[in-house]
Protein backbone atom coordinates (compact mmCIF):
# COMPACT_ATOMS: atom_id res chain seq x y z
CA UNK A 1 0.00 0.00 0.00
CA UNK A 2 2.90 2.33 0.95
CA UNK A 3 4.70 1.43 -2.26
CA UNK A 4 1.58 2.19 -4.26
CA UNK A 5 1.24 5.52 -2.50
CA UNK A 6 4.92 6.36 -3.21
CA UNK A 7 4.48 5.40 -6.87
CA UNK A 8 1.39 7.55 -7.06
CA UNK A 9 3.25 10.58 -5.65
CA UNK A 10 6.16 9.94 -8.03
CA UNK A 11 3.82 9.97 -11.03
CA UNK A 12 2.11 13.04 -9.67
CA UNK A 13 5.49 14.79 -9.29
CA UNK A 14 6.56 13.89 -12.82
CA UNK A 15 3.21 15.08 -14.13
CA UNK A 16 3.54 18.33 -12.17
CA UNK A 17 7.10 18.95 -13.35
CA UNK A 18 6.22 18.30 -16.99
CA UNK A 19 3.27 20.64 -17.02
CA UNK A 20 4.67 23.41 -14.84
CA UNK A 21 8.14 23.78 -16.33
CA UNK A 22 8.58 26.40 -19.03
CA UNK A 23 8.84 25.48 -22.70
CA UNK A 24 12.38 25.26 -24.03
CA UNK A 25 13.18 26.84 -27.37
CA UNK A 26 16.40 25.95 -29.12
CA UNK A 27 17.49 27.37 -32.47
CA UNK A 28 14.09 28.94 -32.69
CA UNK A 29 13.35 31.20 -35.63
CA UNK A 30 10.55 33.58 -34.88
CA UNK A 31 8.50 35.89 -36.97
CA UNK A 32 6.36 38.36 -35.07
CA UNK A 33 5.33 36.51 -31.96
CA UNK A 34 3.63 36.97 -28.64
CA UNK A 35 4.84 35.13 -25.55
CA UNK A 36 1.81 34.44 -23.40
CA UNK A 37 3.19 32.01 -20.83
CA UNK A 38 6.50 31.54 -18.99
CA UNK A 39 9.19 30.65 -21.50
CA UNK A 40 12.92 29.92 -21.49
CA UNK A 41 15.29 30.75 -24.34
CA UNK A 42 18.70 29.19 -24.83
CA UNK A 43 21.09 28.53 -27.71
CA UNK A 44 20.73 30.58 -30.89
CA UNK A 45 17.58 32.58 -31.36
CA UNK A 46 16.92 34.44 -34.59
CA UNK A 47 14.18 37.05 -34.43
CA UNK A 48 12.63 38.01 -37.73
CA UNK A 49 10.11 40.40 -36.28
CA UNK A 50 8.78 41.82 -33.05
CA UNK A 51 8.45 39.50 -30.06
CA UNK A 52 6.23 40.67 -27.24
CA UNK A 53 6.27 39.22 -23.74
CA UNK A 54 2.68 39.78 -22.67
CA UNK A 55 1.55 40.77 -19.20
CA UNK A 56 1.67 37.84 -16.79
CA UNK A 57 4.39 36.02 -18.76
CA UNK A 58 8.10 35.82 -17.95
CA UNK A 59 10.86 35.18 -20.44
CA UNK A 60 14.00 33.69 -18.92
CA UNK A 61 17.12 33.77 -21.07
CA UNK A 62 19.86 31.36 -20.04
CA UNK A 63 23.59 32.17 -19.95
CA UNK A 64 25.34 31.90 -23.31
CA UNK A 65 22.19 32.49 -25.34
CA UNK A 66 22.76 34.35 -28.59
CA UNK A 67 19.81 36.44 -29.76
CA UNK A 68 20.08 37.95 -33.21
CA UNK A 69 17.65 40.37 -34.81
CA UNK A 70 17.07 40.39 -38.56
CA UNK A 71 16.95 43.84 -40.12
CA UNK A 72 13.30 44.04 -41.09
CA UNK A 73 11.32 46.58 -43.11
CA UNK A 74 10.58 49.75 -41.12
CA UNK A 75 7.12 49.40 -39.58
CA UNK A 76 6.47 46.57 -42.06
CA UNK A 77 4.45 43.37 -41.74
CA UNK A 78 6.80 41.86 -39.15
CA UNK A 79 6.01 44.56 -36.63
CA UNK A 80 3.49 43.88 -33.89
CA UNK A 81 2.87 47.53 -33.18
CA UNK A 82 2.78 50.50 -35.52
CA UNK A 83 2.55 52.96 -32.62
CA UNK A 84 5.48 55.21 -33.46
CA UNK A 85 5.37 56.97 -30.10
CA UNK A 86 6.44 53.92 -28.13
CA UNK A 87 8.05 51.68 -30.70
CA UNK A 88 10.97 51.65 -33.09
CA UNK A 89 10.80 51.00 -36.83
CA UNK A 90 12.72 47.69 -36.72
CA UNK A 91 12.43 44.48 -34.72
CA UNK A 92 12.05 44.73 -30.96
CA UNK A 93 11.80 42.49 -27.95
CA UNK A 94 8.85 44.18 -26.27
CA UNK A 95 8.53 43.55 -22.55
CA UNK A 96 5.07 44.08 -21.11
CA UNK A 97 5.52 41.11 -18.80
CA UNK A 98 8.90 40.30 -17.34
CA UNK A 99 12.38 39.58 -18.69
CA UNK A 100 15.12 37.85 -16.74
CA UNK A 101 18.32 37.75 -18.79
CA UNK A 102 21.14 36.78 -16.46
CA UNK A 103 24.30 35.61 -18.13
CA UNK A 104 27.59 34.80 -16.48
CA UNK A 105 30.91 36.61 -16.73
CA UNK A 106 32.26 33.93 -19.07
CA UNK A 107 28.90 33.06 -20.64
CA UNK A 108 27.30 36.33 -21.55
CA UNK A 109 23.93 36.65 -23.23
CA UNK A 110 24.18 38.42 -26.59
CA UNK A 111 21.63 40.69 -28.26
CA UNK A 112 22.88 41.79 -31.65
CA UNK A 113 22.21 42.20 -35.36
CA UNK A 114 21.82 39.16 -37.60
CA UNK A 115 23.27 41.04 -40.57
CA UNK A 116 26.56 39.97 -42.14
CA UNK A 117 27.67 43.58 -42.03
CA UNK A 118 25.96 44.88 -38.92
CA UNK A 119 25.31 48.56 -38.41
CA UNK A 120 23.68 50.81 -35.84
CA UNK A 121 19.87 50.51 -35.64
CA UNK A 122 19.65 47.15 -37.47
CA UNK A 123 17.12 46.39 -34.75
CA UNK A 124 15.04 48.53 -32.43
CA UNK A 125 15.23 47.81 -28.73
CA UNK A 126 14.66 45.59 -25.77
CA UNK A 127 11.63 47.74 -25.13
CA UNK A 128 10.27 47.69 -21.57
CA UNK A 129 6.85 49.33 -21.35
CA UNK A 130 4.98 49.53 -18.04
CA UNK A 131 6.89 46.54 -16.71
CA UNK A 132 8.74 45.80 -13.47
CA UNK A 133 11.16 43.29 -11.86
CA UNK A 134 13.31 42.92 -14.95
CA UNK A 135 17.00 42.01 -14.92
CA UNK A 136 19.67 42.38 -17.58
CA UNK A 137 22.94 41.07 -16.21
CA UNK A 138 26.07 40.01 -18.05
CA UNK A 139 24.55 40.82 -21.42
CA UNK A 140 26.38 42.06 -24.50
CA UNK A 141 24.17 44.36 -26.54
CA UNK A 142 25.04 45.91 -29.89
CA UNK A 143 23.66 47.45 -33.12
CA UNK A 144 20.26 48.42 -31.73
CA UNK A 145 18.53 51.79 -32.08
CA UNK A 146 18.00 52.50 -28.37
CA UNK A 147 18.96 49.08 -27.19
CA UNK A 148 17.62 49.17 -23.65
CA UNK A 149 14.52 51.35 -23.82
CA UNK A 150 12.35 51.87 -20.76
CA UNK A 151 9.00 53.64 -20.73
CA UNK A 152 7.66 53.65 -17.18
CA UNK A 153 9.54 50.45 -16.43
CA UNK A 154 11.84 49.04 -13.79
CA UNK A 155 14.95 47.22 -14.94
CA UNK A 156 18.27 46.43 -13.33
CA UNK A 157 21.07 46.81 -15.87
CA UNK A 158 24.20 45.34 -14.39
CA UNK A 159 27.58 44.18 -15.70
CA UNK A 160 26.52 44.52 -19.33
CA UNK A 161 28.55 45.60 -22.33
CA UNK A 162 26.83 47.97 -24.70
CA UNK A 163 28.48 49.17 -27.90
CA UNK A 164 27.63 50.34 -31.43
CA UNK A 165 24.06 51.25 -30.59
CA UNK A 166 22.29 54.49 -31.49
CA UNK A 167 21.72 55.10 -27.79
CA UNK A 168 22.73 52.37 -25.36
CA UNK A 169 20.11 53.00 -22.66
CA UNK A 170 17.11 55.35 -22.74
CA UNK A 171 14.40 55.84 -20.12
CA UNK A 172 11.46 58.07 -19.31
CA UNK A 173 8.13 58.07 -17.53
CA UNK A 174 4.90 58.08 -19.47
CA UNK A 175 2.01 60.04 -18.00
CA UNK A 176 -0.90 57.85 -17.04
CA UNK A 177 1.15 54.71 -16.38
CA UNK A 178 1.16 53.39 -12.81
CA UNK A 179 4.75 52.17 -12.78
CA UNK A 180 7.43 54.80 -12.34
CA UNK A 181 10.69 54.43 -14.16
CA UNK A 182 13.52 53.16 -11.97
CA UNK A 183 16.53 51.85 -13.83
CA UNK A 184 19.70 51.28 -11.83
CA UNK A 185 22.65 51.13 -14.23
CA UNK A 186 25.65 49.66 -12.44
CA UNK A 187 29.01 48.11 -13.36
CA UNK A 188 28.47 48.34 -17.11
CA UNK A 189 30.80 49.16 -19.95
CA UNK A 190 29.16 51.52 -22.42
CA UNK A 191 31.30 52.53 -25.39
CA UNK A 192 31.27 53.60 -29.03
CA UNK A 193 27.53 54.26 -29.20
CA UNK A 194 25.91 57.38 -30.59
CA UNK A 195 24.86 58.22 -27.04
CA UNK A 196 25.46 56.39 -23.77
CA UNK A 197 22.63 56.86 -21.27
CA UNK A 198 19.61 59.09 -21.91
CA UNK A 199 17.41 59.89 -18.91
CA UNK A 200 14.26 61.88 -19.63
CA UNK A 201 10.70 62.52 -18.56
CA UNK A 202 11.11 62.57 -14.74
CA UNK A 203 12.73 59.13 -14.67
CA UNK A 204 14.93 58.29 -11.69
CA UNK A 205 18.14 56.43 -12.07
CA UNK A 206 21.25 55.43 -10.23
CA UNK A 207 24.24 55.44 -12.56
CA UNK A 208 27.16 53.97 -10.73
CA UNK A 209 30.48 52.20 -11.38
CA UNK A 210 30.16 52.34 -15.15
CA UNK A 211 32.82 52.89 -17.78
CA UNK A 212 31.30 55.29 -20.33
CA UNK A 213 33.71 56.07 -23.15
CA UNK A 214 34.05 56.98 -26.83
CA UNK A 215 30.37 57.70 -27.37
CA UNK A 216 29.93 59.89 -30.40
CA UNK A 217 27.57 62.50 -28.94
CA UNK A 218 27.31 62.08 -25.18
CA UNK A 219 28.13 59.85 -22.26
CA UNK A 220 25.09 60.75 -20.15
CA UNK A 221 22.24 63.04 -21.21
CA UNK A 222 19.65 63.94 -18.62
CA UNK A 223 16.70 66.02 -19.83
CA UNK A 224 13.82 66.87 -17.55
CA UNK A 225 14.77 63.85 -15.51
CA UNK A 226 13.77 63.19 -11.91
CA UNK A 227 16.40 63.10 -9.19
CA UNK A 228 19.33 61.01 -10.40
CA UNK A 229 22.46 59.83 -8.70
CA UNK A 230 25.62 59.66 -10.81
CA UNK A 231 28.57 58.44 -8.76
CA UNK A 232 31.77 56.44 -9.22
CA UNK A 233 31.74 56.38 -13.02
CA UNK A 234 34.56 56.81 -15.49
CA UNK A 235 33.31 59.14 -18.21
CA UNK A 236 35.97 59.96 -20.77
CA UNK A 237 36.70 60.31 -24.50
CA UNK A 238 33.07 61.01 -25.40
CA UNK A 239 32.20 64.08 -27.47
CA UNK A 240 30.41 65.47 -24.42
CA UNK A 241 30.74 63.74 -21.09
CA UNK A 242 27.46 64.84 -19.51
CA UNK A 243 24.69 66.98 -21.01
CA UNK A 244 22.01 68.52 -18.80
CA UNK A 245 18.71 70.08 -19.81
CA UNK A 246 16.15 71.29 -17.30
CA UNK A 247 17.32 69.06 -14.48
CA UNK A 248 16.33 70.41 -11.07
CA UNK A 249 18.14 67.95 -8.80
CA UNK A 250 21.14 65.77 -9.37
CA UNK A 251 23.79 64.02 -7.34
CA UNK A 252 26.93 64.18 -9.41
CA UNK A 253 30.05 63.44 -7.43
CA UNK A 254 33.04 61.12 -7.13
CA UNK A 255 33.25 60.48 -10.86
CA UNK A 256 36.24 60.67 -13.16
CA UNK A 257 35.04 62.99 -15.93
CA UNK A 258 37.91 63.95 -18.21
CA UNK A 259 39.24 64.10 -21.74
CA UNK A 260 35.81 64.46 -23.40
CA UNK A 261 36.48 66.20 -26.71
CA UNK A 262 33.80 68.94 -26.68
CA UNK A 263 33.00 69.38 -23.01
CA UNK A 264 33.16 67.35 -19.83
CA UNK A 265 29.83 68.91 -18.87
CA UNK A 266 27.61 70.95 -21.17
CA UNK A 267 24.46 72.71 -19.96
CA UNK A 268 21.94 73.05 -22.74
CA UNK A 269 19.70 76.03 -23.33
CA UNK A 270 17.01 75.66 -20.69
CA UNK A 271 19.31 74.41 -17.92
CA UNK A 272 19.05 77.51 -15.77
CA UNK A 273 19.50 75.70 -12.47
CA UNK A 274 22.96 75.48 -10.99
CA UNK A 275 24.57 72.06 -10.84
CA UNK A 276 26.48 70.76 -7.84
CA UNK A 277 29.42 68.84 -9.29
CA UNK A 278 31.85 68.84 -6.39
CA UNK A 279 34.29 66.05 -5.58
CA UNK A 280 34.78 64.87 -9.17
CA UNK A 281 38.12 64.36 -10.91
CA UNK A 282 38.38 66.43 -14.08
CA UNK A 283 41.71 65.18 -15.39
CA UNK A 284 43.56 68.20 -14.06
CA UNK A 285 44.00 70.38 -11.01
CA UNK A 286 44.30 73.52 -13.14
CA UNK A 287 41.07 75.40 -12.42
CA UNK A 288 41.21 77.34 -15.69
CA UNK A 289 41.61 74.12 -17.65
CA UNK A 290 38.75 72.47 -15.77
CA UNK A 291 36.50 75.47 -16.36
CA UNK A 292 37.28 75.45 -20.10
CA UNK A 293 35.82 71.95 -20.32
CA UNK A 294 32.49 73.05 -18.87
CA UNK A 295 29.77 74.91 -20.77
CA UNK A 296 27.81 76.92 -18.23
CA UNK A 297 27.10 80.46 -17.06
CA UNK A 298 30.74 81.42 -17.34
CA UNK A 299 30.42 81.47 -21.14
CA UNK A 300 26.65 81.96 -21.46
CA UNK A 301 24.77 84.05 -18.92
CA UNK A 302 21.45 82.33 -19.65
CA UNK A 303 22.72 79.03 -18.26
CA UNK A 304 23.13 77.78 -14.71
CA UNK A 305 26.53 77.44 -13.11
CA UNK A 306 28.37 74.17 -12.58
CA UNK A 307 29.89 74.25 -9.10
CA UNK A 308 33.20 72.43 -9.08
CA UNK A 309 34.81 73.58 -5.84
CA UNK A 310 36.45 70.83 -3.79
CA UNK A 311 37.32 68.95 -6.95
CA UNK A 312 39.37 65.80 -6.55
CA UNK A 313 43.13 66.24 -6.89
CA UNK A 314 43.60 62.78 -8.34
CA UNK A 315 41.43 60.14 -10.02
CA UNK A 316 38.63 58.86 -7.80
CA UNK A 317 39.60 55.36 -6.79
CA UNK A 318 37.03 52.62 -7.16
CA UNK A 319 35.20 54.31 -10.04
CA UNK A 320 34.33 52.23 -13.09
CA UNK A 321 35.74 48.78 -12.35
CA UNK A 322 33.83 46.62 -14.82
Amino acid sequence: MVKLARFFFFVLNVFFLLYSSPAYAVQEINSKTEITSDTVWQGDILLKGDVRINRGATLIILPGTNIRFKKIKDFGPDKLSLDKANHFPRAELIVRGRLIAQGLRDKMITFTSAEKRPSVSDWGAINFIGSRDNILEFCSISYGHTSIHCHSAQVLVSRCRLHDNGVAIGMKNIRGMDIKCAVPVVYNRIWQNGGGILIGGSANSIISHNQITENKFFGIFTKKSGPCCIRFNNIFKNAKGIILYSVPRLILRENNIFDNSDYNISLLEGQEQDVDARYNWWGSTDLKKIRSSIKDASSDKGLGRVRICNFANEPVSGAGRF
Binding site: F88, T146, V167, R175, K223, E269, G270
Partner: protein, 205 residues
Protein backbone atom coordinates in the same frame (compact mmCIF):
# COMPACT_ATOMS: atom_id res chain seq x y z
CA UNK B 1 -31.25 55.58 -18.46
CA UNK B 2 -28.22 57.80 -18.80
CA UNK B 3 -29.03 61.38 -19.33
CA UNK B 4 -27.77 63.05 -22.46
CA UNK B 5 -25.62 65.55 -20.51
CA UNK B 6 -24.01 62.75 -18.48
CA UNK B 7 -23.19 60.84 -21.67
CA UNK B 8 -21.76 63.98 -23.21
CA UNK B 9 -19.62 64.63 -20.11
CA UNK B 10 -18.23 61.07 -20.09
CA UNK B 11 -17.56 61.23 -23.83
CA UNK B 12 -15.66 64.51 -23.48
CA UNK B 13 -13.69 63.14 -20.51
CA UNK B 14 -12.63 60.05 -22.49
CA UNK B 15 -11.56 62.17 -25.45
CA UNK B 16 -9.63 64.46 -23.11
CA UNK B 17 -7.85 61.55 -21.39
CA UNK B 18 -6.94 60.01 -24.73
CA UNK B 19 -5.49 63.33 -25.82
CA UNK B 20 -3.37 63.57 -22.65
CA UNK B 21 -2.10 60.00 -22.94
CA UNK B 22 -1.31 60.27 -26.65
CA UNK B 23 0.32 63.66 -26.24
CA UNK B 24 2.65 62.48 -23.53
CA UNK B 25 3.79 59.39 -25.36
CA UNK B 26 6.62 60.92 -27.30
CA UNK B 27 9.17 58.34 -28.26
CA UNK B 28 12.79 58.51 -27.15
CA UNK B 29 13.61 58.61 -30.83
CA UNK B 30 13.83 62.36 -30.19
CA UNK B 31 12.28 65.35 -31.77
CA UNK B 32 13.14 66.33 -35.30
CA UNK B 33 13.01 69.89 -36.58
CA UNK B 34 12.56 70.28 -40.33
CA UNK B 35 14.35 73.27 -41.80
CA UNK B 36 13.44 74.29 -45.37
CA UNK B 37 16.30 75.70 -47.44
CA UNK B 38 16.77 76.41 -51.14
CA UNK B 39 19.90 75.48 -53.08
CA UNK B 40 21.68 78.86 -52.89
CA UNK B 41 25.09 78.79 -51.14
CA UNK B 42 24.00 81.14 -48.36
CA UNK B 43 20.86 79.14 -47.58
CA UNK B 44 22.81 75.89 -47.61
CA UNK B 45 25.55 77.30 -45.40
CA UNK B 46 23.36 79.09 -42.87
CA UNK B 47 20.95 76.13 -42.91
CA UNK B 48 23.77 73.83 -41.87
CA UNK B 49 25.01 76.35 -39.28
CA UNK B 50 21.52 76.34 -37.78
CA UNK B 51 21.36 72.54 -37.90
CA UNK B 52 24.65 72.10 -36.05
CA UNK B 53 23.97 74.92 -33.60
CA UNK B 54 20.44 73.79 -32.69
CA UNK B 55 21.58 70.20 -32.31
CA UNK B 56 24.51 71.17 -30.10
CA UNK B 57 22.54 73.50 -27.84
CA UNK B 58 19.21 71.69 -27.56
CA UNK B 59 19.86 68.08 -28.53
CA UNK B 60 17.22 68.36 -31.25
CA UNK B 61 17.99 66.75 -34.60
CA UNK B 62 17.56 69.10 -37.54
CA UNK B 63 16.58 67.82 -40.97
CA UNK B 64 17.25 69.97 -44.02
CA UNK B 65 14.41 69.90 -46.56
CA UNK B 66 14.89 71.24 -50.06
CA UNK B 67 12.69 73.83 -51.70
CA UNK B 68 13.11 75.73 -54.95
CA UNK B 69 13.00 79.26 -53.49
CA UNK B 70 12.07 81.04 -50.29
CA UNK B 71 8.43 81.41 -51.33
CA UNK B 72 8.17 77.66 -51.63
CA UNK B 73 10.02 77.30 -48.31
CA UNK B 74 7.42 79.59 -46.75
CA UNK B 75 4.59 77.55 -48.27
CA UNK B 76 6.13 74.36 -46.87
CA UNK B 77 6.14 75.89 -43.39
CA UNK B 78 2.55 77.13 -43.85
CA UNK B 79 1.45 73.62 -44.82
CA UNK B 80 3.35 72.09 -41.89
CA UNK B 81 5.74 70.19 -44.19
CA UNK B 82 8.62 72.10 -42.58
CA UNK B 83 9.01 73.89 -39.26
CA UNK B 84 11.34 76.77 -40.02
CA UNK B 85 12.92 78.58 -42.97
CA UNK B 86 15.37 81.39 -43.65
CA UNK B 87 13.91 84.45 -45.32
CA UNK B 88 14.90 87.98 -46.31
CA UNK B 89 13.01 91.18 -45.63
CA UNK B 90 13.38 92.28 -49.30
CA UNK B 91 11.49 89.50 -51.09
CA UNK B 92 9.18 89.04 -48.11
CA UNK B 93 8.05 92.67 -48.16
CA UNK B 94 7.76 92.80 -51.94
CA UNK B 95 5.44 89.78 -51.82
CA UNK B 96 3.09 91.52 -49.39
CA UNK B 97 0.54 93.62 -51.27
CA UNK B 98 0.24 97.17 -50.03
CA UNK B 99 2.98 97.02 -47.41
CA UNK B 100 5.05 100.16 -47.28
CA UNK B 101 8.84 99.91 -47.34
CA UNK B 102 10.50 101.18 -44.21
CA UNK B 103 12.97 104.03 -44.27
CA UNK B 104 15.62 101.76 -42.85
CA UNK B 105 16.34 98.05 -43.05
CA UNK B 106 15.37 97.74 -39.39
CA UNK B 107 12.02 99.45 -40.02
CA UNK B 108 11.25 97.15 -42.95
CA UNK B 109 12.15 94.19 -40.73
CA UNK B 110 9.71 95.44 -38.06
CA UNK B 111 6.91 95.90 -40.61
CA UNK B 112 7.44 92.46 -42.13
CA UNK B 113 7.64 90.89 -38.70
CA UNK B 114 4.37 92.48 -37.65
CA UNK B 115 2.63 91.41 -40.87
CA UNK B 116 3.79 87.81 -40.54
CA UNK B 117 2.65 87.52 -36.93
CA UNK B 118 -0.82 88.88 -37.68
CA UNK B 119 -1.41 87.10 -40.96
CA UNK B 120 0.49 83.81 -40.78
CA UNK B 121 1.21 83.37 -37.06
CA UNK B 122 4.88 83.26 -38.04
CA UNK B 123 7.64 84.90 -36.07
CA UNK B 124 10.69 86.51 -37.58
CA UNK B 125 13.61 85.92 -35.24
CA UNK B 126 16.41 88.46 -34.92
CA UNK B 127 18.40 89.06 -38.15
CA UNK B 128 21.62 87.09 -38.54
CA UNK B 129 23.49 90.16 -39.76
CA UNK B 130 24.06 89.39 -43.43
CA UNK B 131 22.05 90.70 -46.32
CA UNK B 132 20.15 88.41 -48.62
CA UNK B 133 18.85 89.02 -52.08
CA UNK B 134 16.52 91.97 -52.48
CA UNK B 135 14.47 90.08 -55.02
CA UNK B 136 14.40 86.32 -54.70
CA UNK B 137 13.84 85.77 -58.40
CA UNK B 138 16.66 88.02 -59.52
CA UNK B 139 18.96 86.53 -56.87
CA UNK B 140 21.00 89.68 -56.89
CA UNK B 141 22.41 91.81 -54.14
CA UNK B 142 21.77 95.46 -54.67
CA UNK B 143 22.39 98.58 -52.69
CA UNK B 144 19.14 98.05 -50.78
CA UNK B 145 19.28 96.23 -47.47
CA UNK B 146 17.45 92.93 -47.19
CA UNK B 147 18.04 91.37 -43.81
CA UNK B 148 18.19 87.61 -43.43
CA UNK B 149 16.47 85.93 -40.49
CA UNK B 150 14.97 82.61 -39.47
CA UNK B 151 11.18 82.44 -39.56
CA UNK B 152 9.18 80.02 -37.45
CA UNK B 153 5.52 79.45 -36.60
CA UNK B 154 4.05 79.97 -33.13
CA UNK B 155 2.94 76.33 -33.16
CA UNK B 156 6.50 75.10 -33.67
CA UNK B 157 7.79 77.46 -30.98
CA UNK B 158 5.33 75.93 -28.53
CA UNK B 159 6.74 72.53 -29.41
CA UNK B 160 10.37 73.68 -29.12
CA UNK B 161 10.19 76.27 -26.36
CA UNK B 162 13.84 77.35 -26.23
CA UNK B 163 14.36 77.49 -29.98
CA UNK B 164 13.89 81.25 -30.40
CA UNK B 165 16.32 81.91 -27.57
CA UNK B 166 18.92 79.63 -29.15
CA UNK B 167 18.59 80.98 -32.69
CA UNK B 168 18.58 84.58 -31.48
CA UNK B 169 22.07 83.95 -30.12
CA UNK B 170 23.24 83.95 -33.75
CA UNK B 171 21.84 87.45 -34.17
CA UNK B 172 24.49 89.81 -35.51
CA UNK B 173 27.06 87.00 -35.55
CA UNK B 174 26.94 86.30 -39.29
CA UNK B 175 27.52 89.48 -41.27
CA UNK B 176 28.28 89.58 -44.99
CA UNK B 177 32.03 89.10 -44.53
CA UNK B 178 31.57 86.19 -42.10
CA UNK B 179 29.05 84.56 -44.40
CA UNK B 180 31.39 84.81 -47.37
CA UNK B 181 34.18 83.22 -45.37
CA UNK B 182 31.84 80.52 -44.04
CA UNK B 183 30.53 79.63 -47.50
CA UNK B 184 34.12 79.09 -48.62
CA UNK B 185 35.48 77.33 -45.54
CA UNK B 186 32.52 74.97 -45.21
CA UNK B 187 32.11 74.33 -48.94
CA UNK B 188 28.59 75.75 -48.85
CA UNK B 189 27.71 74.01 -45.64
CA UNK B 190 28.93 70.54 -46.58
CA UNK B 191 31.89 70.56 -44.19
CA UNK B 192 30.34 70.22 -40.74
CA UNK B 193 33.72 70.33 -39.00
CA UNK B 194 34.31 73.84 -40.38
CA UNK B 195 30.88 74.90 -39.12
CA UNK B 196 31.58 73.46 -35.68
CA UNK B 197 34.92 75.24 -35.63
CA UNK B 198 33.23 78.53 -36.49
CA UNK B 199 30.65 78.11 -33.72
CA UNK B 200 33.23 77.00 -31.18
CA UNK B 201 35.55 79.94 -31.96
CA UNK B 202 32.71 82.32 -31.19
CA UNK B 203 31.90 80.52 -27.97
CA UNK B 204 28.45 79.60 -29.29
CA UNK B 205 28.81 75.88 -28.65
Amino acid sequence: MMKRTEFFFIFITIIFLQFIICDSAISCVGRILNLAVDSSPDQQTVGNVLAVFINERTGTTVNLKSCSDIHECQDMVKRGDADIFISYTGPASSAIPGIRQGNTAQETYSLVKQYFIHNYSMIWLRPFGYHGPVDQYLQSDSDQDSLAAAVITRKVLNKFPVLDRVINKLSGKIDDAVLKELVQSSDSGKDKAAIKKFLKQRNLI
